[in-house]
Amino acid sequence: MNMINCTNLSKCYSDKTALDNVSLSLEAGEPIALIGPNGAGKTTLMNVLCGYVRASHGSASVLGHPPGSAALHGRLSALPQDAQLDPRLSVGRQLRLFAALQKMGRVQATKDVDRVLELVDLSAAKNQAPAELSHGMRKRVAIAQSLLGNPEVVLLDEPTAGLDPVNVKSIRDLIVSSSRDTTFIVSSHNLDELEKFCTTVIHLDHGQLKDQVDLSAVREKGYLTIKLEQSNTSKIVEDLRNLPGVTDIEKKQQGAFAIRYDESTHPYFDQQLLKFLADNNQTYRHIIKGRTLEDQLFF
């Protein structure tokens, strides 16, 4: 059984089609990225899957149940975009309510609230009202509520928006460490961020499914992305073209370039490249196996 199935899913508002005939199926496992420009339909798709809005056409199922079904309570969780807790009641009290609604007893609820607040490093905020917290802290509390219990699927809509780099990293680490038991679907504009922990990418644009990419598969297709320390790379790029196995070189932003090579005849091209750089006294900032997510999807 697929974790999520959408068949010809459409959502129309009075003057706009937010989702246009989207069909996809997603398996449980590694984190999944949901990307696309503003207005692409990412939030609408998440809202339909959570049962917050009803599809105009088509159908969707999560873990074999229709969105909004009581059977999904405690199994599907989410960080809805801009959803906030009641600003007047303490964080701990509200999370205990959520835990109680997930059929946890009083003791278990208290323990689980402590656990999730610890995960987002906000144990100290348990007795504070959300109104007393900063934007970033409120976001982390909202992420904490999505981890209550043991949800099988967690939809995170822009989880790192507005967070500082330290907290972005801690949220990323949290997702990676929780991925063994939970499948995360993460919507974000930050492709570099998503690339670090997602293996599948759902690309929406103008409400339509543009692409569904398995990053682990495309990384095998004979690409290396390299960024050198020195800024003037014209000569080195020309020399690289003459390396055995190289079929193409595409210049990217800020001195980076993607080298395409014939992987079938040169399976160890990366070692060959490193030797070439050493022979030419070149140092590099980074080398990525494959192309960046941005390059794969937009160029």
Partner: protein
Amino acid sequence: MTIARFELVRLFLTMRGWLSLIAFCLIWSILLRYLVYNASGYLLDEKLSLSIGGLTGNRGVQNLLAWPVPEITIFWILALYLFPFFSIILTADQTASDRSRGTLRLINLRATRDEIFFGRFIGQMVIQSLLIIATITTVIGLAIWRDADVFTSSLSLSALVSTNLFVVLLPYTALMALVSVLAKSARQATVYATILWIVCFIFIAWLAPQFPQLTFLEWILPGSQLSSLLQKEGWDTLSLAYIPLMQASILLLVGRWLMQRGDL
């Protein structure tokens, strides 16, 4: 039931809840001190009896004067018109602000829309029941303070009045549950309820004389049975309970439909 129970937390552990309670207590303490406490004297006052007659008709005055505990008589008349007013204010924010803030989405991950809608409604009815009990207990205290012999009759009259008030408040609370689904804040919900009530009132007042067969429409409005209720005696007052019960059922059904249909 968890959602209904949490309504008590929302009332007793928030500043807004406490402000509502303080306002309620202040108004009732003034009414209890200056009207209910001197009830026996007022009921002998001819002018006041005439005013009550304006509300209830002559038969109503005779019925009310026959009640053995005048404090409860005055409380009954006041409560019948004031509790609905408090109800509209106290129960306005059943789902409105939680929806506009997105809190309802977090709850909906753990509870169905029906559980949220009916849970909040039940919670509000529990709160109002507690307020009715607290107020009438004070009234009984005042009556016993004057004459300890009225204790037994106070208890039976209190049960009658409390039951009737609970039934009277059902459609008002259901109406606020409905408009709360449409509104984005408690204030907006109150405005919607007021507009809805006035429009229906004017429409029915205009329609009924032209189409006498449609006079039954006057029973659509919550509170339409209040003046008739004052003319009933004892537990016979519950003979009109079908009106608020039907109003509440219809309003809840419409509210539930809107809750199911709308976006969160």
